[in-house]
C-alpha cells in the first residue's frame, strides 16, 4: 500500500513541473469488438469503448470500459494415471470480466504524460493498478524517450481457498528514433516483478486418490527486451519487423519474431498480412506429468510454463469511409479497422493432458471503429 501511495505522488510532482508548449491530444472515441475461439472450447467475447477528451490546450483525460465474456470447458486432469487420455467431456464454465480505466493526460509537444487507475473485476479475481507514463520528445520529434511504471495489487477470491494477493510491478523504458523520412525504430525494455499467489488455482493434477492443486513459486522476476522497426518499402507498402527476447528467474526464456506488411489498395483501403513466431523454454521446476508426486515442492500443470512454440498468421484491414457527414456521424473522421489471426501451438504433453488435444488451434477476430469527434 505504501508503494501505491508513493506511486500516486509521482504524477502530482510530474504534472506540477510541466513546461508550456503545444498539445496533440485529440478527442477520440474507439469502439472495438473482439473474439477468440479455439479447439479446446475456450471462447472469449470482448467489447471495449475508449474515450479521450481534450480539456484544454495541453490537458485531457481518458476513459475506457471493457467487458469480456469467457466460456470454456472444465477439463479432467489424468496425468497421475499415466498421461493417457480419457474422453470425458468437462462441464462448461463461464466467467465475465469488467475492466474500467481512467487516466489524466498531458501533452505539450515535448512532454507527454499520463497517469491513471485500472480496475478489473471477475467472479474470482479483482485487479487494481496504478500506472504512470512519461515520454520526453526531442530532436524535432525524431527522438522520444519514455518511462512507464505500473503497480498492481490483485486479489484472488477462490471458493475453498484463502483469499490471496498477487502483486505486480512493471517498469518499461522505451526509446524511439526516426531513422529516415521513411523508417523508424523503437527499443523497449520491461521489467516485471510478481509476487504472491502466482499459481493458477483452477489447475490441478490427480495423483492416485489425491487431487493436488498447482503450486508455483511465489515470486517471479522477468525482463523483456524488444526491438521494432517500421520502414516504407514503396510509397504504398510498409514493412514491420519486431523481435523480443524474454527471460525470467523461473528459467523461462523466449524469442518472438513478429512481421507485418501493409499495402494501400486505394485512398480508403489498406490491407495487411502478419506472421508471428514464438518459442519458449521450460521453467526450471517443470517435471514430466507422470513423475509429479504429492509431496513435491512445486507442482506445475499449466502448459504455459513448459517448452513449446506458437505460430500466428493473420490478415488486417483499415478502411476510411469518407463521403461526408450524416446527422450523427462525420464519416470523414471515422476509420474502421479489423483483422483475423489464426493461432496454433506446437504439440505439447501438458496441453494434451489438460485439454485432450495435441495442440491449441485458435482464431482471433477484431473489428474496431476510431472516430475523431
Amino acid at each position: 500500500m505504501r508503494r501505491l501511495q508513493v506511486l500516486l505522488l509521482i504524477p502530482v510532482l510530474f504534472f506540477a513541473a510541466m513546461e508550456a508548449g503545444a498539445s496533440s491530444i485529440d478527442d477520440l472515441l474507439v469502439v472495438s469488438l473482439h473474439t477468440y475461439d479455439d479447439n479446446t472450447n475456450q471462447t472469449i467475447y470482448s467489447t471495449k469503448a475508449s474515450l479521450t477528451k481534450r480539456l484544454s490546450e495541453r490537458w485531457g483525460y481518458g476513459l475506457s470500459l471493457g467487458v469480456d465474456a469467457v466460456s470454456g470447458a472444465t477439463p479432467s486432469s489424468n496425468a497421475g494415471d499415466g498421461g493417457e487420455d480419457d474422453d470425458e467431456e468437462g462441464e462448461s464454465e463461464g466467467n465475465s470480466r469488467v475492466y474500467p480505466s481512467l487516466s489524466l493526460k498531458y501533452d505539450d509537444g515535448q512532454h507527454i504524460g499520463a497517469a491513471g487507475v485500472y480496475l478489473s473485476t471477475e467472479t474470482d479475481y479483482t485487479g487494481q493498478s496504478l500506472f504512470v507514463d512519461y515520454t520526453r520528445v526531442m530532436n524535432l520529434g525524431n527522438t522520444a524517450a519514455g518511462i512507464s511504471v505500473s503497480e498492481a495489487s490483485d486479489r484472488w477470491k477462490i471458493s475453498g481457498l484463502d483469499p490471496d494477493n498477487r502483486d505486480e510491478r512493471s517498469v518499461t523504458l522505451s526509446l524511439t528514433q526516426t531513422l529516415t523520412p521513411h523508417a523508424q525504430a523503437r527499443l523497449v525494455w520491461t521489467n516485471i516483478h510478481s509476487e504472491g499467489y502466482l499459481s493458477n488455482p483452477h489447475r490441478f493434477i490427480d495423483i492416485g486418490p489425491d487431487r493436488v492443486l498447482e503450486r508455483l513459486p511465489e515470486e517471479r522476476n522477468g525482463d523483456a527486451l524488444a526491438l521494432k522497426l517500421v520502414t516504407l518499402l514503396k510509397e504504398s507498402t510498409s514493412f514491420h519487423l519486431g523481435y523480443r527476447y524474454y527471460s525470467d528467474d523461473w528459467s523461462i526464456s523466449s524469442h518472438t519474431i513478429d512481421t507485418a506488411l501493409y499495402r494501400d489498395l486505394s485512398g480508403s483501403w489498406t490491407l495487411g498480412g502478419r506472421l508471428r513466431f514464438y518459442t519458449q523454454t521450460d521453467a526450471e521446476f517443470i517435471r514430466p506429468l507422470t513423475e509429479i508426486q504429492v509431496a513435491d515442492q512445486w507442482v506445475a500443470v499449466d502448459y504455459k510454463n513448459t517448452a513449446f512454440d506458437t505460430y500466428t498468421a493473420g490478415v488486417e484491414f483499415q478502411y476510411k469511409p469518407g463521403g461526408g457527414s450524416t446527422r450523427f456521424l462525420d464519416w470523414d473522421k471515422a476509420k474502421l479497422k479489423g483483422g483475423l489471426d489464426l493461432y496454433t501451438t506446437s504439440s505439447n504433453d501438458f496441453i494434451d493432458n489438460w485439454y485432450g488435444e495435441d495442440s491449441i488451434v485458435g482464431a482471433m477476430i477484431t473489428v474496431s471503429m476510431e472516430y475523431q469527434y
Binding site: 529516415t180 510509397e235 523461462i252
Partner: protein, 78 residues
C-alpha cells in the same frame, strides 16, 4: 534488491541524459518530411485496439510478457 533498483535508476538517468544531450546530433528529419511517417500503416501499432487484444491473448497463452509500450492491466486469466 535495493542495489538492483539503485543501478536501474542510475542507468535510466544516464540513458535519458545521454539521449537528451546527443539528440541534436541524431538524425533530423524535418517536419515537412514526415508525411510518410504520419500514415497509419507506418505506426508501430496501426490498430491499437487490435494490438491490445492480441497482446492480452498472447499473455494468457504464453509465459512471456513485456516489450510493449502500452499498459496491460492484470486479470485472473493469466
Amino acid at each position: 534488491m535495493i542495489m538492483t533498483r539503485f543501478f536501474l535508476l542510475l542507468a535510466l538517468i544516464i540513458s535519458l541524459a545521454s539521449v537528451t544531450a546527443c539528440s541534436s546530433r541524431l538524425v533530423r528529419v524535418q517536419p515537412y518530411e514526415r508525411e510518410s511517417l504520419a500514415q497509419d500503416k507506418m505506426l508501430f501499432t496501426p490498430s491499437t485496439a487490435k494490438a491490445a487484444f492480441d497482446e492480452h491473448v498472447f499473455s494468457i497463452m504464453e509465459a512471456s510478457r513485456g516489450g510493449e509500450a502500452s499498459f496491460q492491466g492484470g486479470c485472473g486469466c493469466r
